[in-house]
């Protein structure tokens, strides 16, 4: 057993590059999903039926589709329309679009719970709609939704592991190749599990500090 972990240690470069890829992939798609979600949330709160129902359909649809299947569809679907993407772009696109729906729903939930007064004050001050959203509505929204957004980021990290099926060299993929090269399944995968755990602990620590920031502003 110790010997097995020795083999994993000797392959640490591969495992660490997998960890780095998982972290980069998750960070980039978390940011993209959050930005897209911020764009989508006003549509979910819109008073125009057409806009509202389109956004609602997209968000509810995504929430019912398993991510793995969505990744397959992006992977095989884009080439059908003549768009050739590499594994990285496919993975990033799939993770970002899919989680944008979840982020939008999280922001909508926090928006509904926001007090009306600052928004009405903003309207009274003559803020345009975009500035109202950007300066008055969004900042407290992001702070109060912080913990749930953090949970979603952990979900993104876990979803990124699915991208091993399209041969994206992330952490699970690295563990798989170590296991198939040296046949040390337990050592390889348990190391990957603890690396994922480490990543999630970092995010939880980040969420706690954002929570403290939000408390300080209150």
């Amino acid at each position: 057993m110790i010997h097995d972990f020795g083999i994993v240690w000797s392959e640490r470069a591969l495992l660490l590059s997998g960890l780095a890829n998982t972290a980069i992939l998750s960070a980039l798609s978390a940011v993209a999903a959050l930005v897209l979600g911020c764009g989508l949330a006003p549509a979910l709160m819109s008073k125009q039926p057409a806009l509202l129902w389109t956004a609602r359909f997209f968000v509810d649809g995504m929430r019912c589709v398993p991510f793995l299947l969505f990744a397959y569809i992006v992977y095989y679907g884009f080439p059908t329309f003549g768009v050739r993407l590499d594994n990285w772009t496919t993975g990033l696109a799939a993770l970002s679009i899919y989680n944008a729906a979840y982020m939008a729903e999280i922001l909508r939930g926090a928006w509904v719970a926001q007090p009306r007064e600052p928004i009405e004050a903003g309207i009274a001050f003559g803020f345009s709609e975009i500035r109202l959203f950007r300066r008055i509505i969004l900042p407290p929204l992001l702070l109060s939704a912080g913990p749930v957004i953090g949970n979603q980021m952990i979900q993104i990290i876990k979803d990124s592991a699915f991208l091993t099926i399209i041969a994206l060299p992330e952490l699970t993929h690295a563990a798989s190749s170590i296991q198939s090269r040296h046949y040390v399944p337990f050592a390889a995968f348990i190391t990957a599990v603890f690396l994922y755990w480490g990543l999630c602990l970092v995010i939880e620590a980040g969420v706690t500090s954002i929570g403290r920031l939000a408390d300080a502003r209150r």
Partner: protein, 215 residues
């Protein structure tokens, strides 16, 4: 798509639904037991459960499945894809269920528990008659939410060779060289299942909200 393909999808759907049910049914009581161990603060065990939940919540199901599927035979436990799938689903979902149950237990009013104590109910009785019926109601939306999450991760089971909806879609796509249509069919099979659970969750939440408002 041929008749054989439709049969393959139907069989896959049966496998997906059966395994999901198995995972949910076994995961619920295990999650509750884990939550009780933490709630009762059993020395050492409570600490181990906390660690288990923290690690499992951070572990992608793919990684867990590959670990179980390849490592169990390595330590002398023979395991086929279906058992690996069920063990993986149960481990994954029990960690999340534990948190749902635990938050219901933490918020359980202490005075009720003490009242039950003062009328001479034994610990088992107190739990069965007083605590359990109420925490089930409180936990229900969270548990149903976890069920829909569980169904959404089941396509991963295909990775270790379980012949579910996703595996059927992959195979048909490989045979016809047209991978997109079978995946769209697969999505059309998953969406109603997940949508039913999401609607159930919303319905329960609404009902409890109106019940809470009436009380």
């Amino acid at each position: 798509m041929s008749a054989g393909d439709i049969a393959a999808f139907a069989q896959g759907a049966v496998v997906t639904v059966t395994l999901s049910f198995a995972g949910i049914l076994i995961g619920l009581p295990i999650g509750l037991s884990l939550a009780l161990i933490r709630w009762a603060n059993v020395p050492v065990a409570a600490w181990i459960v906390a660690l288990y939940v923290s690690v499992l919540r951070a572990t992608p199901l793919v990684t867990l499945l590959l670990l179980l599927f390849f490592a169990l035979p390595n330590i002398g436990v023979p395991v086929d894809p279906v058992s690996a799938a069920i063990i993986g689903l149960v481990m994954n979902t029990s960690a999340f269920n534990c948190e749902v149950w635990r938050s219901a237990l933490m918020n359980f009013p202490k005075d009720q528990y003490e009242a039950a104590q003062s009328v001479g109910m034994r610990a088992g009785q107190r739990f069965r008659r007083i605590v359990l019926p109420q925490i089930v109601m409180v936990s229900l939306p969270g548990l149903v939410n976890e069920m829909s999450l569980l169904i959404k991760v089941t396509p991963v089971l295909a990775v270790v060779g379980v012949v579910d909806i996703t595996r059927a879609a992959v195979r048909i796509g490989a045979e016809t060289y047209e991978p997109l249509p079978p995946f769209l069919v697969a999505v059309a099979l998953y969406v109603p299942i997940v949508f039913a659970l999401v609607s159930l969750q919303r319905w329960i939440e609404r009902r409890q909200m109106t019940a809470g408002a009436a009380a």
